[in-house]
Symmetry: C2
Subunit: 334 residues, 2 copies
């Protein structure tokens, strides 16, 4: 027996398909008795509407798309979990696409698989792609860049100020040799945090040493290895503090320091970014700049939904961090 359609229900109930549709969608034109009867038959046949038919006709999928190159790490799952919950609250589902293939991304967006899109994609979607999307009046929110026009907005984190404040805090403690652990340069946040860090060094006339900018890929393991190599190469002029581009790299860094016999924060201070869930349970608990991830997720979904509903034009919102003092930072020893 093939899938039950609205036609089967209509036949079984002895009415037309439009009557069935009206009954199911609670359109208030039917005789209550008819409606009841149709509903009863639909129930009995276990009828479930085919969403593809619905979508084609209505032009709405009731799905939002999240396009990202990665879901690794606590930042992303907090984001996804919160966005997902917020979508459900608005009656939408969330479609997560983890891909680096721009073709896949564009055909899903322009092919209307989703009613609106959320993009964290590290700038591979370029001006020209955005123009194409704009021509189709695609509703979009960017998380990895500041941007806005009529149908697109953004919700970003002020990483520059975060980097600046974190560096200033370490300088205030008395640190003079501060290294920065970077992610790859396509990562908006990594670059902006580094710029903030550099701005603080300049402001306080501290020397800027290119060796003190370390490539770490924003993960524990790659950072762990990078810091081990760094320590071996710079044993004579080790910094007294590390500013790690995110909490994961801070944790990898601390572990590498421990392996080499350094105490944190006794010998070296380490500060991270994000304040992911696990940061406060690490040893030592991380000093970090809190990134309001859940808030970003909620603002993003709300903005997108309002644009879809035509209640709002695109605009950009910026969230600011908050320095959380914990156990991984201290005044320098010398």
């Amino acid at each position: 027996m093939a899938k039950i359609t609205i036609r089967d229900v209509a036949k079984e109930a002895g009415v037309s398909i439009s009557t069935v549709s009206n009954a199911l969608n609670d359109v208030d034109v039917l005789n209550p008795a008819t409606k009841l009867h149709v509903l009863e038959v639909a129930q009995r046949l276990n009828y479930v509407p085919n969403l593809n038919g619905k979508m084609l006709k209505s032009g709405k999928t009731m799905m939002l798309g999240f396009f990202t190159t990665s879901v690794s790490g606590p930042y992303f799952y907090k984001l996804i979990e919160t966005m997902s919950r917020q979508c459900e609250r608005h009656g939408y589902g969330l479609n997560v696409f983890v891909t680096k293939d721009k073709q896949v991304i564009m055909s899903n967006i322009l092919g209307r698989r989703v009613d609106g899109v959320i993009i964290y994609e590290e700038l591979k979607i370029d001006e020209q792609d955005i123009e194409v999307m704009q021509k189709d009046k695609i509703k979009a929110v960017f998380l990895d860049r500041e941007f806005s026009n009529e149908t697109m907005g953004s919700v970003t984190f002020d990483s520059f100020t975060a980097g600046y404040e974190a560096a200033k805090y370490l300088i205030g403690l008395g640190h003079k040799r501060i290294a920065y652990i970077s992610g790859v340069d396509t990562m908006f946040d990594s670059v902006r945090r580094r710029e903030g860090y550099l701005a603080a060094l300049r402001e306080y006339d501290l020397p800027i040493d290119d060796d003190y900018i370390i490539q770490g890929y924003f993960e524990e393991d790659s950072t762990f290895n990078a810091i081990k190599a760094f320590i071996r190469a710079n044993a004579s002029k080790l910094p007294s503090a590390f500013l790690a581009g995110n909490d994961l790299s801070a944790m990898g860094c601390i572990q590498a320091l421990k392996v080499h016999g350094y105490e944190v924060p006794g010998d070296v201070s380490v500060v991270g970014f994000d304040d992911v869930d696990i940061a406060q349970y690490f040893s030592p608990p991380l000093t970090t700049v809190r990134n309001p991830i859940a808030r970003q997720a909620i603002l993003t979904v709300d903005h997108l939904v309002r644009m879809i509903q035509g209640k709002e034009q695109g605009h950009s919102q910026t969230l600011t961090g908050e320095l959380i003092l914990r156990g991984s930072s201290h005044v320098p020893i010398n």
Copy 2:
């Protein structure tokens, strides 16, 4: 200007819509010159096929659905990232639904929003729901229970043996008082690991103390609090080892022990489950039973795709853990 459809392309190219469709789908019946011309026009108009039309006609969405109640924690992002990558390899997209609303789940599955489903849902989908799905020949793979029939399979982790082996390892070290940190009882893995732990205790004639089974919700923070409470209540008869139901609870447990002045593994041993990415960078690095998450993800997607293609019937696969010895476990002090 509204969205460009196949009709617009046909008109502009001066051919019928069937010709356009054939050209785009590379059906080998057309005059090569015609095909080239159509393709050129489609390109010029920036035509992108509407996926809803495609889906309705073909009955295929080229999407797999992952239905879960949570994405929190490293287990899930490893799973999602790997599944997503594997989907892409097969030409599918992955649709992640984070919801506890069974209605949402069933209407998306039965409404054919996806061609196949992956379910990690902690048993709220019951026998009756499965029967409904079976009647519609829904292709499904369960991750949270062992099950199989013609169109459904499962890929699970042998948590019982993992729990048994971990407990046996601690007993072998000489531990006699071993506590288990549980998740909620709807979690298949938590329950099975506990059963394995209990089986090992029984086998070695160790006393089973109900107080030694601690509720922790499988997260750092809830476990941190639970263990602090436990330590206060049981200061006089503290276990010499904790078997934590997953790595996150192991980390929360260790942190709570440290806060109360206990050394790990000097005073107390702690063993976790999963070997999530961060486990080896924790302080101390975690002894844990490795759960081959990436492998589970790949087997799951492959099995589902083969069922969709009609190349395979449903069956259940079971993965086994591997004990990874690191720094959080040690012989007992007394």
